[in-house]
């Protein structure tokens, strides 16, 4: 067994496999399938200070090797999370991170403050990249000053590990990455979904109620991999890579591109056991290549 442990700022992960926010519920939904303590950690759904109903149905469209979603951060609010859901998550021994979102900087800060009080939460993932909300969300992640503003405001109130999740819907992701690093991010995760659209040719209507939605799945992997590579050349803080990871080979590619850990998103829908298979697959790969630790792979692309 190779050494799969990796470090994201103050969080020591026993293995580099996390799950992506919005694709793993609150973890409990997977209890029937496998012991989720096997994971390096998991990231719960996008949480906002106020409860959100999310967008109207239909919220999903299947695309070639991918899917569009327009969930729109449906959640019961940070307070509900803290009092009703958090207690159920304390049974897990692995790392739990909360994905934090908002429409204004004040909302981000208020939400992060509530999460800051929850002992067993290892860190937050600041979502400045949600393409499915009318206000805030992605807007923060598409310009350097606004990204820096929200990151530094949250930095003041949040004491533990703060991962900032970047939007791929930008001209130069390395610039935004540097702005987030400069404003106090401890780590960066990328990519969130890419803004896309689906049309039903028969009904001549958009498939999604919101017209556009966020693209995820293997279709986006080449773009995600490129962005992780670009960001890894631009910043010093650890990167968490995601976007279209379906199997261990995909995960290895992200490590080589510079990711210190990875997240599995859409793959959970297709195979709820994808994450455990990926953990085993990474171990097999390392053994087969006689690499003793995952850290020897991170950023080690041969050019």
């Amino acid at each position: 067994m190779a050494d799969l442990s990796t470090i994201i700022h103050n969080i020591k992960l026993k293995n580099p496999v996390l799950t992506a926010s919005g694709t793993f519920g609150y973890g409990v939904e997977f209890d029937d399938f496998f012991d989720i303590n096997l994971l390096g950690g998991f990231i719960v759904k996008g949480t906002t200070i106020h409860p959100r109903q999310g967008n109207a149905y239909p919220r999903m469209a299947e695309t070639s090797s991918g899917m569009l979603n327009a969930v729109g951060l449906q959640n019961a609010g940070a307070q509900y999370f803290a009092t009703e859901i958090y207690p159920k998550l304390t049974k897990y021994e692995t790392n739990v991170l909360v994905n934090v979102s908002g429409s204004t900087i004040e909302e981000y800060v208020a939400c992060a403050e509530i999460i800051n009080d929850l002992d067993r939460i290892s860190g937050i993932e600041l979502n400045i990249s949600c393409p499915n909300v009318k206000e805030g969300g992605m807007a923060f992640g598409t310009s350097c000053p606004s990204a820096a503003a929200v990151v530094s405001a949250v930095r003041k109130v949040y004491k533990k590990t703060m991962v900032v999740k970047l939007s791929p819907n930008v001209t130069d992701i390395a610039e935004i990455a540097k702005a987030a690093e400069g404003a106090g991010a401890d780590s960066l995760s990328l990519i969130n979904t890419i803004l896309g659209m689906a049309i039903n040719a028969e009904t001549r209507k958009p498939v999604l109620s919101t017209i556009t939605g966020g693209l995820s799945g293997p279709a986006v992997k080449p773009i995600a991999l490129r962005m992780v590579w670009q960001v890894s050349q631009a910043v010093k803080i650890p990167i968490i890579g995601l976007g279209g990871i379906m199997n261990a080979t995909d995960a290895i590619e992200f490590f080589l591109a510079g990711a210190s850990a990875i997240q599995v998103g859409t793959a959970n829908f297709i195979d709820p056991l994808a994450t455990v298979k990926i953990i085993n697959g990474i171990d097999n790969y390392l053994n087969r290549h006689k690499i003793s630790a995952i850290s020897d792979l991170i950023g080690c692309l041969h050019l």
Binding site: T23, F33, G54, P58, E62, T63, S64, N69, T266, N268
Partner: protein
């Protein structure tokens, strides 16, 4: 039964008519209790156009032989591929999913109404209801006689009535035009309904008018099928609910339907 991901062996694949296939899937493990109305989320051969799983109601369960049956209507690439799964190959299935119909605690007179491919969960429902001496009426509607599949199966468990749009079998018209709805509907204590949404709304409206309890099984576009993606919501009086976990079965009083 706890939900799980399993590779189930296809032990039979029967073509029922032009576009309906009946698949029997065998599991080596002992099947535990599956509630009628629960569904399975099945992985078809992945191709450029099939990325996600496809949900199907559990059509019948054989606890002795550890077999679940699925009734598939071909409507697109996924159902086409699944319909043609060769016998002895295996399918990757997540099941059982969803809540299922609520069952009477004592013997009741119940009406099951199904239309189109919506009939699928009703066979399993009839199967289970018939064990508790309920008085079961089953009304099945279709476009034409050829589209009415497995009538003899339903007849094992209850009294079967039919409507067809072209009058080629049973009464002519839509299910809600059947004479059952003409007479006293409140002789039934429950209606279970499954089919295209307009049909379910029409049935729900009759049920409501007659103050008969009515449950409907909804469809929705699903990405996961087990409550983590939040893609499959329907509007209820308690806000957005997931069809895959809070449903697919809803009491019509929970829904925001204009009926």
């Amino acid at each position: 039964m706890k939900k799980s991901v399993q590779n189930l062996k296809v032990i039979a694949n029967v073509k029922l008519n032009n576009d309906h296939h009946l698949l029997q899937l065998h599991t080596p493990d002992q099947l535990e209790n599956i509630v009628p109305g629960q569904f399975a989320n099945i992985l078809a051969d992945q191709s450029q156009s099939i990325f996600l799983r496809r949900p199907f109601s559990i059509h019948a369960v054989d606890y002795q032989k550890n077999i679940i049956s699925i009734l598939i209507k071909e409507v697109g690439e996924g159902t086409r591929s699944l319909s043609h799964t060769p016998v002895n190959s295996s399918l990757n299935v997540i099941f059982p999913l969803g809540n299922g119909f609520s069952l009477p605690s004592s013997s009741e007179k119940v009406l099951l109404v199904g239309g189109g491919c919506g009939v699928a969960p009703l066979l399993h429902l009839a199967q289970v209801l018939s064990k508790d001496f309920n008085d079961i009426y089953i009304l099945l509607g279709a476009r034409s006689a050829v589209d009415l599949v497995e009538l003899n199966q339903y007849a094992i468990y209850g009294k079967v009535f039919t409507t067809t749009e072209d009058g080629s079998h049973g009464e002519k018209g839509f299910v809600t035009e059947h004479s059952i709805f003409g007479v006293k509907l409140d002789s039934f204590s429950r209606i279970y309904c499954c089919g295209p949404e307009p049909m379910m709304k029409a049935v729900a409206s009759k049920a409501k008018a007659n103050s008969v309890s009515c449950e409907v099984s909804l469809e929705n576009t699903m990405a996961c099928g087990f409550g983590v993606c939040l893609c499959c919501v329907t509007e209820t009086l308690q806000g957005h609910k997931c069809v895959c976990t809070d449903g697919p079965v809803f009491n019509i009083n929970q829904l925001k339907w204009q009926i």
